[in-house]
């Protein structure tokens, strides 16, 4: 692993951006400024950032209902993200999508998706396109442990394996699908064990160790660019907050379990590592956080300055010309 200190600091900054963005998004959701639903990624930041740090421009990813982290890790513009959550004209989807449908095709982020496992095949199509282009691009599907039990997981892994598509399948195993424990719905604890059935590598990594995630992803990217086909990477991680920010939904996880995972915070961990190895001082860390906070505040200001769509704009974008 040959990560420059700059790159490592950039990884920390991205994780922190996700964290701060979502702290703000959940607060603004509860304040009634963001509508519908918000699913927070807090606690899982090392997965999105670790994987996306192994990608290059032109590589494509797809996300889930829990999409802010993937957007930010792929380089999405915070202003347009926040404006979308605020339902404004300046948002990525002109206020038509909201949190569950945020996308930036320009940077290769093919969208959050409200359907569990709904994005896996779409991004596999991006992988097929990359293969047909012959330009060594890769495509990455992020999905949850819950999604790994759905039909599209199987259909796509088989197709990608049979066609040797340049794909990374990243299972974010946070041990729960909404209120239901993965232990109750999976016969085996490791989703990665299913890869062997398709003749492709299946790898389990500590999803809170950003370097482990990065390394596994980087290897899979090399394999994919070389035309050797897909890899399934399972990142064991945990979400700190409830499944959604909607109030009144049950959460059966014990405080002890939640606390034990907070102790494994990927951000604290990387920050401590960088400071320990002399790549950063405490003051640098503080400055970075201030900068990040400022960028979030700026995104809110941008969102608030952006007008709501006019009712008639509901009729725009129905068909492409």
């Amino acid at each position: 692993m040959n990560l420059s200190p700059d790159k490592q600091r950039e990884m920390l900054r991205q994780m922190l951006t996700i964290r701060r963005f979502e702290e703000r998004a959940s607060a603004d959701y509860h304040a009634g400024k963001i509508y519908g639903v918000v699913h927070c990624y807090i606690g899982e930041e090392a997965v999105a950032v670790g994987v996306c740090s192994a990608l290059e421009t032109g590589d494509q990813i797809i996300s889930t209902h829990r999409g802010h982290g993937h957007c930010i890790a792929k380089g999405a513009d915070l202003n347009r993200m926040m404006a979308e959550l605020y339902g404004r004209q300046g948002g990525y989807c002109k206020g038509k999508g909201g949190s569950m449908h945020i996308a930036d095709f320009g940077i290769g982020m093919l969208g959050a998706n409200g359907i569990v496992a709904g994005g896996i095949s779409i991004v596999t199509g991006a992988g097929l396109a990359a293969q047909m282009d012959g330009n060594e691009r890769v495509a990455v599907s992020f999905f949850g442990d819950g999604a790994s039990n759905a039909g599209p997981f199987h259909e796509c892994l088989n197709i990608a394996a049979a066609w040797k598509l340049p794909m990374l399948y990243i299972c974010e195993n946070n041990m729960y699908a909404a209120q239901t424990a993965a232990a109750a719905t999976h016969a085996m604890p490791d989703v990665a064990g299913r890869a062997a059935g398709y003749g492709i590598p299946g790898i389990v990594v500590d999803g809170n160790d950003i370097f482990a995630v990065y390394q596994a992803a980087a290897r899979a990217v090399v394999r994919a660019r070389a035309g050797e086909g897909p890899t399934l990477i399972e990142c064991k991680t945990y979400r700190w907050r409830a499944h959604t920010e909607r109030v009144g939904q049950p959460d059966f996880r014990t405080p002890g379990e939640i606390e034990s995972w907070k102790a494994k915070d990927p951000i604290t961990r990387l920050s401590a590592q960088l400071i320990a190895q002399g790549s950063m001082t405490d003051a640098d860390a503080k400055a970075m956080d201030d900068e990040v906070q400022a960028s979030i505040a700026a995104s809110v200001a941008f969102a608030e300055a952006s007008p709501f769509p006019t009712p008639e704009q509901a009729l725009d974008d129905m068909y492409a010309a």
């Binding site: 038509k96 999508g97 909201g98 449908h101 039909g151």
Partner: protein
């Protein structure tokens, strides 16, 4: 009479029937807690996110003597199970010559107002109506929901209960005693003489509000709630239209080949009703786009009492001109 919410009415119906019949069990990706508490995890199963398989599993369990309830939760999630719905559940009794009965209740939440955008705000019940072989309903009150659910759970066929997201928290009177509402019977939610509004789910309440408003200007609106979508109580709708001579159909779904088109057709193809029709029929539906997220956009797309009033005024003004031939 005591008042309970639409959501509670649903839970009560299921719980009462489960108490009465041990062959009933319940499956859902996230189960309803009071049901789990009362009946345990064996009878109220938290499932993997695999609605396609579970929809089929309910068919096989039904054919083996059970009476499964499969809760798709949002109707959105039922589309991954559409093969099992269209090609299996709807046809299995007929296709095999009636060898077995398949008593299954499917539950699906529909409708907008939740700011959840295109995928989660859908009213696609008309797609299911187009099939032959499934019964289905979409109630507008806690009373209707509970009564129809009880009938559905006792029915020996697959039945879909569409339930309105917008009404989950709304309250209404529901008796303590056991009762059931037969499928296929409309309910006149308000009597009137100038115009018939056929409305379903949330639009029933919007239509009632519109009627109240128009009553002030001396316009008498009859609000007919079919409640059941299949079988549709066409005769109740026709009788009302024969009386008033005018028809507005209010539906949260889009118009195209929808419930509203079906109501327009059953009215205009019946000679006696057609003869009494004094004005063009009028559909008051969602605009023909996916549902957008931002509140201003979403509210613009969905029909409401204002648009119902406008629709009523149109059919009152646009009386049928003298016959052209």
């Amino acid at each position: 009479m005591r008042e309970i919410t639409y959501a509670q009415a649903g839970v009560e119906a299921v719980a009462e029937e489960m108490r009465a019949d041990p062959r009933i069990f319940y499956m859902s990706t996230d189960p309803i807690m009071p049901l789990v508490k009362e009946f345990g995890e064996k009878r109220v199963k938290a499932t993997p996110i695999a609605e396609a398989a579970l929809t089929g599993i309910s068919i096989g369990a039904a054919g083996s003597g059970y009476r499964p309830i499969m809760d798709w939760r949002q109707v959105t999630f039922s589309f991954v199970a559409m093969d099992q719905i269209v090609n299996q559940a709807a046809k299995i009794h007929y296709m095999f010559g009636g060898q077995r009965t398949f008593p299954i209740l499917y539950r699906a939440n529909v409708g907008g107002g939740t700011r959840l955008a295109a995928q989660h705000c859908q009213c696609p019940y008309s797609m299911f109506m187009n099939l032959s072989g499934l019964k289905m309903f979409l109630p507008s009150t806690p009373y209707d929901l509970k009564g129809l659910l009880k009938t559905a759970i006792r029915d020996n066929n697959p039945v879909i209960s569409f339930e309105s997201n917008r009404l989950l928290a709304s309250k209404g009177p529901v008796p303590e005693e056991d009762y059931a509402i037969p499928l296929g019977v409309a309910d006149i939610k308000r009597k009137g003489s100038d115009v018939t509004v056929v409305a379903i789910a949330w639009l029933v309440h919007e239509a009632l509000a519109a009627a109240e408003e128009l009553a002030k200007s001396g316009i008498s609106v009859e609000v007919v709630d079919p409640r059941t979508l299949v079988p549709l109580d066409a005769e109740a709708i026709r009788a009302s239209v024969r009386k008033t001579g005018r028809l507005v159909i209010a539906d949260e779904a889009g118009p195209t080949a929808g419930f509203s088109a079906e109501v327009a057709a059953v009215v205009t193809e019946d000679p006696a009703t057609f003869a009494g029709l004094k004005a063009p029929v009028r559909r008051v539906c969602a605009l023909n786009v996916p549902i957008p997220y931002s509140p201003q956009l979403e509210d613009h797309v969905f029909p409401d009492r204002k648009r119902i009033i406008a629709g009523i005024r149109d059919v009152l003004d646009g009386a049928r001109p003298a016959r052209s031939a």
